[in-house]
């Protein structure tokens, strides 16, 4: 008999993970949200430059439940959440597994600021309910989740931590490098950070900001330097959405990436979608931070290599 000691050793982490997911569910049910399940295999995920879907029998495994959930918003479902598996080809590292667990929630008549406020309440609710009250200890530092959370624009973060303006980084095509090397390690260190107002060109499904069309109403949440969630005020203009998808699709073609057809049914129904905001939160990463895990491997039952 060869017991799988690696798997056995994760018992505590997997119990905590289950509790965290149960608390997430409780938060949304108590908040009047409808839990939904949309198909995991879909004909057309949103085409995005840097997200590669896994082909599945002529269609794709979802990279996010976004397209189906927004069609539900458009059909009159005003508050919905889903905890589902998503797949992104080639993503593997201490923060990535190619099949991971995503929490998404959408809310009509809200915007990204409303979602920030709701995210704060969710994380506090879950941490307390799952037995992680008080400051979180992560990688030798304490993150106080009760203190007012930091909010910083992407523009300000580039100047403060990146040593150059956001526009210069975009011009020189080093936006991602500066973000990963200089900015991310400084976000969410003593308290959680919302970094918001991303360049319009990096927000394919987000609404542009009314008073500054060079940025979109999009934010990311960081805890302890780890990206936990991405959210935005949803773009509801089908013409603009089609143009953005076509530009992302053209980028993919130019890089010889897997072509992805446009999600036509979504585009056809988008005009009926109310003003809304939505967010995708990585459950594995949230569990990592709450448990002070070094690697995502410690908080999943099986890594792909172990299958």
């Amino acid at each position: 008999m060869t017991a799988n000691w690696r798997l056995a050793r994760r018992h505590g982490a997997l119990r905590a993970r289950a509790r965290i997911i149960q608390e997430v569910r409780r938060f949304f049910i108590e908040g009047g949200y409808l839990e939904v399940e949309t198909p995991l295999r879909i004909p057309a995920p949103a085409p995005e430059s840097h997200i590669d879907p896994v082909p599945a029998d002529g269609w794709f495994l979802q990279t996010s439940p976004e397209i189906c959930m927004k069609r539900m918003l458009a059909a009159g479902y005003e508050r919905l959440f889903q905890i589902s598996h998503c797949w992104r080809a080639g993503e593997r590292g201490s923060m990535h597994v190619p099949e991971f667990t995503m929490l998404e929630w959408y809310r009509a008549a809200s915007d990204y600021r409303g979602v920030m406020e709701e995210t704060e309440r969710l994380i506090r609710f879950v941490a307390e309910g799952a037995g992680f009250g008080g400051p979180l200890s992560f990688r030798g530092k304490e993150i106080d989740i009760t203190a007012p959370w930091e909010r910083i624009t992407v523009r300000d973060a580039f100047v403060r931590y990146g040593g150059m303006t956001m526009d210069k980084a975009l011009d020189r095509d080093i936006f991602d490098e500066v973000m990963v090397e200089q900015i991310e390690p400084r976000l969410g260190i003593s308290r959680p950070t919302f970094i918001h107002d991303y360049p319009a060109c990096r927000s394919a499904l987000a609404r542009l900001k009314g008073d500054d069309l060079t940025v979109a109403e999009r934010f990311e949440l960081y805890l302890g330097g780890v990206e936990i969630a991405n959210a935005f005020s949803e773009l509801t203009d089908p013409v603009e959405q089609r143009a953005r998808f076509e530009s992302e699709a053209a980028f993919r073609t130019s890089r010889e990436q897997t072509p992805i057809p446009l999600p036509e049914k979504f585009l056809a129904e988008l005009a009926a979608m109310p003003q809304a905001a939505g967010i995708a939160l990585g459950i594995d990463r949230l569990v990592m931070v709450l448990l002070d895990a070094d690697s995502i491997d410690e908080v999943v039952a099986f890594t792909p290599e172990e299958l």
Binding site: E48, S49, H50, I51, G90, E91, R92, G93, S94, M95, H96, F175, D176, E177, M179, V180, E181, E184, Y198, R202, S203, A204, E220, E227, N230
Partner: protein, 187 residues
């Protein structure tokens, strides 16, 4: 040719003409951004560590390294000269590249020399070498200072701590991995 997908700890690559050892590696992907491969690597000649971030599609030349058995001949002007056992070819290595091994190298010792192309960039010694003590103070009987070791200078100039009973002119065995006294050479 390696691609970013081959990057991992321990990989040896050529960068700007020098061999580098990858000492840390992390896959990153900032929200909605592209995949980035963050690496730390150490120059195998200078020892300097640097951080580099790569994108998908970038490629690397492997570092072509080879270990050859050689004999250490002599030192001259901060350069150490070795001779290949098979070809009798002589190569020189800087003091910097020899590193701590210089403390344990006596003429004619057999070593493994790490070659990067035609360049000798490192030397590895046997784990234990015999070296002569050229200076150490005699042990004073009845010494009550409680000290259980004393300094000794070896024929290479290296100074280490030895037990009090070791005398000048004796041969001792030194562990080259730690630089510590191991035992007395029986003879």
């Amino acid at each position: 040719m390696y691609t970013v997908a081959d990057l991992k700890k321990g990989l040896k690559i050529t960068l700007d003409g020098d061999p580098y050892l990858v000492t840390a590696f992390e896959f990153s992907k900032p929200g909605k951004g592209q995949a980035l491969y963050r690496t730390k690597m150490r120059n195998m000649i200078t020892g300097i560590t640097l951080d580099r971030t790569y994108r998908s599609g970038e490629t690397f030349e492997p570092a072509r390294l080879e270990e050859r058995q050689m004999q250490y001949l002599y030192k001259e002007d901060n350069h150490y000269t070795f001779m290949d056992n098979q070809t009798f070819e002589q190569v020189q290595m800087s003091e910097e590249a020899v590193g701590d091994a210089k403390n344990f190298m006596i003429d004619n010792i057999q070593v493994d020399v790490l070659m990067f192309g035609e360049k000798a960039i490192g030397v590895s010694l046997p784990n234990f070498v015999n070296l002569r003590v050229v200076q150490t103070d005699p042990w004073v009987k009845g010494d009550t200072s409680g000290s259980d070791s004393k300094p000794a200078t070896l024929e290479t100039g290296y100074v280490l701590r030895v037990p009090p009973f070791i005398e000048e002119g004796e041969m001792i065995v030194v562990d080259t991995r730690t630089g510590d006294y191991s035992t007395r050479v029986k003879g």
